[in-house]
């Protein structure tokens, strides 16, 4: 089962969660903070475990990949709190301290 959750934090800014459950257990997740540029939602930060490891990917405002770091999984509610607090400044922050 796939559960998608989108939270519109402010106009043009969303926190998004994609959780794939197999036999009621969370197998894969993608949590992302996206901003609307023109008509396209560009990802700024993205947490996922699709490659089998919990990590975070950071992109620039045009959606170009910048870097990837290990990052333990957090609940989506925590991710929403983090991105709602720091908004677009989040890409300049040291995520390991959050």
């Amino acid at each position: 089962m796939l559960k998608i959750k989108r939270v519109l934090i402010a106009q043009g800014e969303i926190a998004e969660s994609w959780e794939y459950y197999k036999n009621e257990h969370l197998k894969y997740y993608i949590y992302a903070y996206k901003i609307l540029k023109g008509r396209k939602w560009n990802t700024l930060i993205r947490w996922d475990n699709l490659n089998g490891m919990d990590h975070v990917d950071i992109y620039d405002e045009n959606g170009n990949f910048m870097e990837s770091k290990e990052f333990p999984r957090r609940e989506f509610e925590d991710i929403v709190k983090i991105v709602s607090t720091f908004r677009k400044n989040i890409i300049a922050m040291d995520l390991s301290n959050l």
Binding site: M1, L2, K3, R6, V7, L8, I30, D48, S68
Partner: protein
């Protein structure tokens, strides 16, 4: 204050979604290979992979939208609620079909859909050159 929208994806919606993904990223094997080679560099591939996994196993897809921006109330209107109702009852339709079937001007339909899409009220995918709102809204709730 927040507005909560719950949406489910029926078979016909998933078909449109899958078609749109196939056009953009290719078949499942290609998506899997892309994910392994440059998953991080192209964020949409992960979502495509999860949709493929779901459709192959015929698993349900549910969506919940939480809107915390009060400006969303400027987007709602009687005409737009009528449109949501029409989309809910007549399945996935392209904007052209929607305009023709509701007897409305295409530009007005386009503007309404874009305004609702911006606030996540509708989930719109690109199917070829056409935009298609997908998903059946089960509830729109206002919490104070």
């Amino acid at each position: 204050m927040k507005v909560i929208i719950k949406r489910e994806f029926k078979k016909e919606h998933i078909t449109v979604l899958k078609k749109s993904i196939r056009r953009k990223y290719g078949r499942f094997e290609k998506v899997k290979a892309l994910l392994a080679s440059k998953g991080c560099a192209s964020p949409g591939i992960g979502e495509a992979y999860l949709i493929y996994l779901c459709t192959m196993n015929e698993e349900p897809i549910e969506e919940e939208v939480i809107i915390k921006d009060k400006k969303v109330f400027n987007v709602f209107s009687a005409k737009r609620f009528e449109m949501i109702d029409y989309i809910n009852n007549h399945g996935p339709l392209s904007l052209k079909e929607l305009a023709r079937k509701t007897g409305r001007d295409y530009k007005n339909v386009y503007d309404d859909i874009c305004a609702m899409e911006r606030f996540l009220i509708l989930n719109v995918v690109k199917s070829g050159k056409e935009k298609v709102p997908i998903g059946k809204i089960n509830s729109i709730e206002i919490r104070i």
